[in-house]
Structures are given as structure tokens and as C-alpha cells.
């Protein structure tokens, strides 16, 4: 269902090419694909429209259609624009002129405020600060206890006054206590609420008034759909949001809400949440977010996951092989074993640009059985065949491999063509402009 943007646009251009010369208004056709892709990524439809309109002139200026690879060119322009829009400046937490710095966490129910309060506290302490957590959600059953437990685990003090005191009083008392006891930061965990709940929004205004927060951080779920725009706008209008945290980014949501919220509020995205543990908080990286929203695959995540599962030497080797496209079936096989510990194969393949749809086009469902079959096929190959899959063009070899693995020649063919695709993608990635587009992280692609 979710084709990658590259596939989609390549499809368009294939159609156009077969028509003959690419015409002027074909930019519109290509950009329409971008727009659809953005909406599939949950970018608000109006934001998607506005974004694509804004990008059009730049695409024309880039003379993308005259280039050999218009898809690549257009995507590059679109990608750059999106990175720009998402915020090229590094968005750090602001600090109050005199401590304590107050951070107020706000958002819808279930967006992850409590967990992110704890994550921020841990981060600030690691940076040498002395943070205090404040339980200002007096509504949700056991919300106070949840924060106390998290604080207790991290050995970070939690200010709580039960559920009978008004949140603004609790918050004000906490700030006074923090000031008296040399805390650098006060993190206010407020109750989740609907942005259309007038009484609850007024409560937040009172908390804000009572504590004068330096940062008002809106925690938004990466899976949020079209309404993200309105919700963010309403929180922003009432409270003057100063930063965004996109939570649950460890899932497979494309995260278009990030673009929607950013473009209607103009507020910088400061962090992303990538897991349930208190360590799972990362600085926001616009370039990675952009390729995720655009569905360009996420090679970097793939490599990172590989790094977590492989030992370092292996990871460096894998990176090198992907880079030089000398990745063989032998490597593929060895890594299949490790990959098993990284999660379902389909999901990993989806991270490779073009790969997800390549698999789907052949209607191949990657499941554990499929993986076993792949393993069996590769096991039945000679070392030579694994290193040089070209020699498997020979029909007799294929038959032998099929018989040896208890599969059919069609299965062997399917695997080989998938592998071929994968190699091609890797080549494209390293030959095309994409390498330069990857974030500059020391050690990776540098």
C-alpha cells in the first residue's frame, strides 16, 4: 500500500518517457506524486499542498527534467526544501537567566508526556544539571505514582502533592522548592487533554502563569494523523509552545505530523522519543525526518540497527560492503542469522530505498518461513556461487540449488532477483547524490 516516493515517481516518469519527450507540465505530475506521498505519510493535506506549491519554482529552476535522472533530481530538491522547513538550526533547550529553568510538558492524552518528562530529567542530569520532576497530572489514575516510580528508578526527586491540590499550586510550590534547594530544572508533567477542552486548557494557562516556564514543550505522537495541525495550533495559541517532541519514533509511522506541526506553528522540533526506556531520547535531525516522511528509506537506521546487533567490526564491514556494493550472497547469508535478532526481515528491507516495494511487487511476503527458505537456498549453493551469483545464470546450477534446498527453481530465481535489486539499490545509493545527503555523523560515510 505504501509505495516509496522514489518508486512512485519512477513509475510516473516511465509512463512519461514511453510517451516520448518529457513536457513542461510534467513537473506538476511529478509533484502530484510527492503530494500524495506526503498525505500517505500523514502530512496534513493543506500543508502538503502548500509545501508542494512552494517547491515547484525550485524544481523548475533546477532544470530537473533535463537531467538524466529527473526523479533523483526532483527528490533532491524536495528533500532539501523539507530539511530546510523542518529546521536546519540545532534546537537546544533554552535556559532561564536565573535557575531554575521551568519546562512545561503539554499534549493530548497518551502522547507520552510522563515518559518524556523522565527522559528529559535524565538527559539534563547527564549534562550536569540538577532536575526536579513535578507531578501535576492529578486526574489520570496513578499518574502521580507513575512519575514517582520513574523518578525513583532514576534517583531524580519528584515533587508531588497528591491529587487534591490544584495543578497550578503544585507547580508553583515546586518551583519555590527548586529555587530554595538549588535545582537547575523543574519539569512539569501535566495531564493529557484535548485541545478543545476549554476548562482544561484554562488550567494550563494558570500553570503557565504561576510558573513562567522557559520552555513549553508539546509532546506529539509520531503516528498522529491529519488533525495534528489543529491540535498543535490550539496548544500553541493558548500557551505559546516553544518546542516540540515527537514521540514513538521507534515505530514505523512516517511521521508527517512533524512537518504539519512545524509548518503551522513554526516551533522547532527539539527531540524525538525512540523507545520506552528513559535513555530513548534523541536530538531531532531534520534530514533524517525528511527522508522518513518522504519515504526515501532509512539507510541510516538500518545501519544503526545493524550496529546494535552486529559487533563493531562486522558492522564496519557491512557498511563498507554496502558502500562499495560488493555485498555477496555469502554476506547476505551470514547476516540473515544476525538479522533475525533485529526484528522481522520485512521491516528491515523496508528501510532500504526501493526494496520494500520491490518485494511487494513480486508479492513476496517475508515471514519466518520465507526466511528459512532463503537460508536453505543459500545453504545449497557452493561458496563460489555465493560469492559470484552471476554464475547462477546457468540453469543447471539453479536446478541443483532448488533440489538441494527443497525449493523450486522459481524460488531460487525470486531470491536471486531480490538480491539483484538489493545490490542495485546499494549501488544507486552510493553512486547517486544520496551519499552526500546522509547526515554527517562521525564515522559514518565520512
Amino acid at each position: 500500500m505504501f509505495e516509496s516516493l522514489t518508486d512512485r515517481m519512477q513509475g510516473t516518469f516511465k509512463k512519461l518517457n514511453s510517451k516520448g519527450r518529457i513536457a513542461e507540465n510534467d513537473v506538476d505530475l511529478a509533484l502530484r506524486e510527492v503530494r500524495i506521498s506526503l498525505m500517505e505519510a500523514d502530512v496534513n493535506l493543506k500543508v502538503a499542498k502548500q509545501f508542494v506549491n512552494g517547491v515547484k519554482a525550485k524544481v523548475e529552476d533546477a532544470h530537473a527534467l533535463e537531467s538524466l535522472n529527473p526523479t533523483q533530481q526532483i527528490i533532491q530538491v524536495v528533500n532539501e526544501e523539507m530539511v530546510e522547513l523542518l529546521g536546519s538550526e540545532e534546537a537546544k533547550l533554552q535556559t532561564a537567566p536565573a535557575p531554575p529553568t521551568v519546562l512545561m510538558m503539554v499534549g493530548l492524552q497518551g502522547s507520552g508526556k510522563t515518559t518524556h518528562s523522565a527522559k528529559l530529567a535524565l538527559l539534563l542530569r547527564r549534562q550536569g544539571g540538577k532536575p526536579m520532576l513535578v507531578a501535576a497530572d492529578v486526574y489520570r489514575p496513578a499518574a502521580v505514582k507513575q512519575l514517582e516510580t520513574l523518578g525513583g528508578n532514576l534517583k531524580i526527586p519528584v515533587h508531588s502533592e497528591g491529587t487534591q491540590v490544584a495543578p497550578e499550586r503544585i507547580a508553583a510550590n515546586a518551583v519555590a522548592e527548586a529555587r530554595a534547594n538549588g535545582y537547575t530544572h523543574v519539569i512539569l508533567d501535566t495531564a493529557g487533554r484535548l485541545s478543545i477542552d476549554e476548562a482544561m486548557m484554562q488550567e494550563l494557562e494558570r500553570v503557565k502563569e504561576a510558573t513562567n516556564p522557559t520552555e513549553t514543550l508539546l509532546v506529539a505522537d509520531a503516528m498522529t494523523g491529519q488533525e495534528a495541525v489543529r491540535v498543535a495550533q490550539q496548544f500553541h495559541e493558548r500557551l505559546g509552545v516553544t518546542g516540540l517532541i515527537m514521540s514513538k519514533m521507534d515505530g514505523d509511522a512516517r511521521g508527517g505530523a512533524a512537518l504539519s506541526i512545524r509548518s503551522v506553528t513554526g516551533v522547532p522540533i527539539k527531540f524525538i522519543g525512540t523507545g520506552e526506556r528513559p535513555e530513548a531520547l534523541e536530538p531531532f535531525m531534520p534530514d533524517r525526518m525528511a527522508s522518513r516522511i518522504l519515504g526515501l528509506g532509512d539507510m541510516l537506521s538500518l545501519i544503526e540497527r545493524a550496529q546494535a546487533a552486529f559487533d563493531e567490526r562486522q558492522a564496519a564491514e557491512l557498511e563498507q560492503k554496502m558502500r562499495t556494493a560488493t555485498f555477496t550472497l555469502e554476506d547476505f547469508y551470514t547476516q540473515l542469522q544476525t538479522i533475525k535478532s533485529m526484528g522481522p526481515l520485512s521491516q528491515l528491507l523496508d528501510m532500504i530505498p526501493g526494496m520494500g516495494s520491490a518485494m511487494r511487487n513480486q508479492d513476496v511476503q517475508v515471514d519466518e518461513r520465507e526466511m528459512k527458505r532463503i537460508e536453505a537456498i543459500i545453504q545449497s549453493m557452493t561458496p563460489d556461487e555465493r560469492q559470484h551469483p552471476e554464475i547462477l545464470k546457468n540453469g543447471r546450477r539453479r536446478k541443483r540449488v532448488a533440489a538441494g534446498s527443497g525449493t523450486s527453481v522459481a524460488d531460487v530465481n525470486a531470491l536471486l532477483s531480490q538480491f539483484n535489486q538489493m545490490q542495485k539499490m546499494m549501488k544507486q545509493l552510493t553512486a547517486g547524490g544520496s551519499r552526500g545527503k546522509l547526515p554527517r555523523i562521525p564515522g559514518l560515510f565520512s
Binding site: 500524495i36 498525505m39 500523514d42 502548500q50 485541545s195 503516528m223 488533525e227 521507534d250
Partner: protein
């Protein structure tokens, strides 16, 4: 795939202006305008454009929207539908048709042995609150209810459930924090039997559907439940605020534990929950309940007509 509202027929300046207006405008305003459009005599490009916008803005998804609109366009071309109001009514029927195409699987207690309801979903969608509401409803209907607290992971998840259990007047069987959820379920099953309960509601920890190990854990929990020989049903809670990822969630949960019903939560917000059309269509799982707030009574039987009408409200 060509969508009407993706056509470049307006000049960009005009469109930007329209966008700004649109973003300012509240939704009801926008769709108030919509109804006016349908009251007109002729079906124009604008009719389709607005229709598509309505659906996409409700998180129905581009693909489903396209399929729906295309079939309407065919019927207009064939002369079957002539006026915008016909188009709208037909669309409503089709939308209801999707939701009603799957017969409800009534897991309600029948008085013949224990029914175990496993409630699953990603983090923060409203599983625990929904369990409390279900317990409350079932109890009011005269059923003996027990709750199993199988979220042993999230901080204070057990305390949260215990508060709800007290409010609903229903016993909560829990283990120690961070203990094996499958063993909690095991104990809860035993307790439910001892008490001759009609229904055991099992709260599970929120988990992203992409986490292989956590999904395997869920599989294990389900195995423990099914081995007990009771009737089992699995309910997925989907947050109405969720966009297209809702379908990926449903797919993966359905693959892991097989689903008997969906609960749409947070329908008291402004999101329309349109992703459920794709979910019902693709996975053939009926929608069971709609949750509309944080109070124990805020749970209603799913009503497809009300749900579809709400798209236009």
C-alpha cells in the same frame, strides 16, 4: 493514481490564500461549506475535490479515498447518480457498507463458561481506560467480571488499573511489577475460574507493533489464555487521532493474535478515525466499541451510521 484535488488547475497564489483561510477555519465551517456544495444542482470538479478533501482530512487515506471516489464517478458517468446530494448519500451508504460488511462478533458473556478478552494496542491508545469502561458495562449487565493486570512493564500501570477496578467494583488480579505477564494471566485465569466469573478482561502493556520481541510476548500471552480452554477474544484499541499508521498496527496485531474486534478510542476529540475503513475492509475485523472520554461511562456500542455521519459534522 490521479486525484481531483491534486490537479493543478488553480493558480498557486490563489491556492495559498485558500490554504491560509482553510487553516484558520474551523472544521465545521469548512464542512458547513461542503454541505452547501452538495445542495447545488450540478456535479462539478469541485464536488469531487471537496469530497476527496473531506475523506483525506478524516484520515481515511489516499488509497481508500481514491477507490471510493472512483466508484462514485463511474456511477455518475453511467447516469445512475445525477446530483451532488445523490453522490453524498451514496458515499455515506458505501462507507456504512464497508463497516457493516463484517458481521459483529458478539463476545458478550453468554453464561456458558468463562470468556477471556485480551485487550491489545500500541502505547497510550487507551487500553486500560477501555478495560475499566468495559468492566463497568459488563457488570451493569449482570456479569461477573475479573480484570487481569498483565501490563507489568509500564510504571504504575498496575496501580492505574487497581484504581479503575475499585471504581468499577471489579477485582483486579495482579502480579509484581516487571514479572512475567504470561504468568499473571495464568493466575488471573485461575482466579476467574475460582470466582466463577463470566468474563476475564486482560490489560496488556502498550507495545509498538514493530517490536518483534514484544509481539512474541503477546503471542505467548495468548497461548496461555487459549490453553485454558475458555472462549477467547482479542480486541485491538485504535486511537482515533492516529493516521495511516493505524492500518499497519492493525495488520501486525492481527498477524500476531488474530483480532475479533476493534475499539476506537478518543472519539471525543476532533479526529474522525477514518483509518478504520481501511482496517475493516482489509482485515475484516468488526468495530466493537467507541470510546468518547475519560470517564467510566464513556463507552458506546459501535454505530456505523453515527460514525459515518460524524465525518460530516
Amino acid at each position: 493514481m490521479v486525484m481531483r484535488f491534486l490537479r493543478g488547475k488553480q493558480d498557486p497564489k490563489e491556492r495559498d490564500q485558500k490554504l491560509d483561510e482553510g487553516l484558520q477555519k474551523s472544521r465545521s465551517g469548512l464542512f458547513g461549506q461542503m454541505s452547501a456544495l452538495f445542495d447545488r444542482e450540478e456535479i462539478t470538479d469541485e464536488t469531487w475535490e471537496e469530497l476527496e478533501e473531506l475523506l483525506v482530512a478524516s484520515d481515511v487515506g489516499v488509497e481508500t479515498t481514491f477507490t471510493l471516489v472512483e466508484s462514485l464517478q463511474d456511477r455518475v458517468d453511467s447516469g445512475e447518480l445525477r446530483r451532488p446530494s445523490h453522490v453524498r448519500e451514496t458515499l455515506k451508504q458505501e462507507l456504512r457498507g464497508i463497516l457493516e460488511s463484517v458481521p459483529p462478533r458478539n463476545g458478550a458473556a453468554t453464561g456458558e463458561g468463562l470468556l477471556v478478552t485480551l485487550v491489545v494496542g500500541v502505547n497510550g491508545v487507551g487500553k486500560t481506560t477501555t478495560i475499566a469502561k468495559m468492566a463497568n458495562r459488563l457488570k451493569a449487565d449482570g456479569a461477573q467480571v475479573v480484570i487481569g493486570a498483565a501490563d507489568t512493564f509500564r510504571a504504575a500501570a498496575i496501580d492505574q488499573l487497581e484504581v479503575w477496578g475499585q471504581r468499577a467494583g471489579v477485582p483486579v488480579i495482579a502480579g509484581a511489577p516487571n514479572s512475567d505477564p504470561a504468568s499473571v494471566v495464568h493466575d488471573a485465569l485461575a482466579a476467574a475460574r475460582t470466582r466463577r466469573a463470566d468474563v476475564l478482561l486482560v490489560d496488556t502493556a502498550g507495545r509498538l507493533h514493530t517490536k518483534y520481541n514484544l509481539m512474541e510476548e503477546l503471542r505467548k500471552i495468548e497461548r496461555v489464555v487459549s490453553k485454558g480452554g475458555s472462549k477467547v477474544e482479542n480486541l485491538l484499541v485504535l486511537d482515533a487521532t492516529t493516521g495511516q499508521n493505524g492500518l499497519l498496527q492493525a495488520r501486525q496485531f492481527a498477524k500476531t493474535v488474530s483480532l475479533d474486534g476493534v475499539v476506537i478510542s478518543k472519539m471525543d476529540g476532533t479526529s474522525k478515525g477514518g483509518i478504520v475503513f481501511a482496517v475493516v475492509k482489509e482485515l475484516g475485523v468488526p468495530i466493537r466499541y467507541v470510546a468518547t472520554g475519560e470517564k467510566i461511562g464513556d463507552l458506546a456500542e459501535f454505530d456505523s451510521q453515527a460514525f459515518v455521519d460524524a465525518l460530516w459534522s
